[in-house]
Symmetry: C2
Subunit: 319 residues, 2 copies
């Protein structure tokens, strides 16, 4: 099959599958469109957690223990910042800080986020295109039951996702221009929704005006990989959010959330029993080992996903 | 003698004598007013080289080899910044960067430079008051013979002072408000001009409206310590600038430059032969070992300076 794969990704889980895809595809055949609604200004710097996680992962410099940040990282600046009374709840490593400093400087000088990220990624050696969902600021705001509305990183990192979530909105989305990789979808081989948080990684991408419509109208198959296995999130608050937002805490809950625009759903082998219910939603299902512990796992899952995409294309089940 | 000592300082040389004074005086009896015309915006950060050098020195965390920056410093951010194409000609260590990041954040939030520096200095353990000459931006601009006008750090660090200097101006000085420590000069024991560069460390302080007049009218003795020994600067471009700006390249050249507002001049023992000519300018002269290689040297020179200040007060030679 030919044509590009467009992968939609958030942070760690998305980056893992993106790396699996990058192992199998020529760089020109993969574009990773990344959530930027987790981005925030902190310490006067423009921090883009998901973009950086994808960039570091595809460049081979990610921290293998955490999945985010850089490998062989040091924390000298943070320690010195603590010494002088600065905020240290959001941990930024020394190497990682260089990206924030340089990005912030260039954004203030008027460059676009996509231009800056393209250059940083190239310098670090990431080969596939990594694009922000938009060059305009979109910010996830989490309405909690007992702490009111919180900026995403306040809720996610500072409060460790503890406050129960009542709803989520994406401030600024209505005025954001989508990156053209999310709307110029001719000649795509397929669209892959990485195993990222549906509510705060994937939903913000679709909230950028024009993106949902373009994805729905695309001629290529749309395949989502479950971020929930055995009723639990591999990482992060996806399961907690499914429960608090009134969804079934399972891959089925995710499939239902994606049902009106996704054609194929990749379910973990542990959850194979959910296949009939997901098929009943009108989606095709592929069962695979979706937990990516090492590079082989990533490659294997990516291969299963590509196979599934191509089968859906041939069968015409996606139109 | 009682009352405060007000020391005027630039970077490394000024910080050394300030430390000597700090060893001898109770913290409440020493205020170090520091040049801020070397400050600049770099990498999107507010860098204050002279203030930080004085702060690190008085806090006991300065790098003993360089005189600037912090001891046991690491350079991880700079290396990572080089890797992604950022500017690395102005070397900022990891610990040092914490101060720039926190200062920049607080300045952008609307706090004054003096407030921010007071807090940073307190956190790091510097006891005497360290105050910027002004909370308003003043920027040294160096007119060169063959490269036109250059921002100070461009000339000083990036071009290593190579272009010959034709003149110097302090952009923004005319609109700057002086720090009140430089204008409320009642009850001073003395004013000490540290062995800093006359043209780019001391002159900018005097260029802030009201400072020169306040210093001239102060009832306390004004004593300057030579930054030139044996016709050479201990550090930096002072000798080169004396030559290029048409002054005698000697302590005498400096004394002439200070003659209309300084009462006493501390000359190095090597230059004792210049004493008659300096006295002929109407200044008192004290000969001392002015080269500060270690803490004992700093303390000894500070003691000589204080002795000189007090003698001038008693003799009334300063009014």
């Amino acid at each position: 099959m030919s044509g590009k794969i467009l992968a939609l990704a958030g942070g760690v889980g998305g980056a893992k599958l993106a790396l699996g895809l990058a192992h199998l595809l020529p760089p020109a055949e993969l574009t990773v469109a990344v959530n930027t609604a987790d981005d925030f200004e902190h310490l006067g710097l423009s921090i883009c957690p998901d973009l950086d996680t994808v960039m570091y992962t595809l460049a081979g410099v990610a921290n293998p223990e955490t999945g985010w940040g850089r490998r062989n990282e040091t924390w000298t600046v943070m320690e010195a910042l603590g010494q002088i009374g600065g905020e240290t709840w959001f941990r930024l490593g020394d190497k990682d800080l260089a990206a924030h400093i340089e990005r912030t400087r260039r954004l203030r000088a008027g460059e676009s986020l996509s231009t800056v990220m393209r250059d940083l990624a190239a310098r670090l050696g990431a080969k596939p295109a990594i694009v922000p969902m938009s060059d305009d600021p979109v910010r996830t705001m989490v309405m909690t039951t007992d702490r009111g509305e919180l900026a995403f990183q306040d809720w996610f990192v500072r409060l460790r996702c503890a406050p129960a979530v009542r709803s989520v909105r994406f401030a600024g989305a209505e005025k954001a221009q989508p990156h053209r990789a999310l709307t110029d979808l001719d000649d795509l081989r397929g669209i892959v929704v990485c195993p990222s948080n549906p509510f705060v990684s994937v939903a913000p991408i679709l909230a950028v005006p024009g993106v949902r419509a373009a994805l729905v109208e695309a001629k290529a198959p749309r395949v989502a990989v479950t971020p929930i296995v055995g009723g639990q999130a591999i990482k992060g608050p996806a399961a907690k959010m499914l429960a608090e937002l009134g969804h079934d805490v399972s891959a089925l809950g995710v499939a239902r959330y994606y049902r009106d625009w996704v054609d194929g759903f990749v379910l973990d082998a542990q959850d194979a029993g959910l296949a009939p219910e997901i098929e009943a939603l009108g989606m095709k299902v592929r069962v695979a080992d979706t937990v990516m512990r090492n590079d082989d796992d990533k490659r294997r899952l990516a291969a299963r996903v590509l196979e599934f995409v191509d089968e859906l294309a041939v069968s015409g089940q996606h139109s």
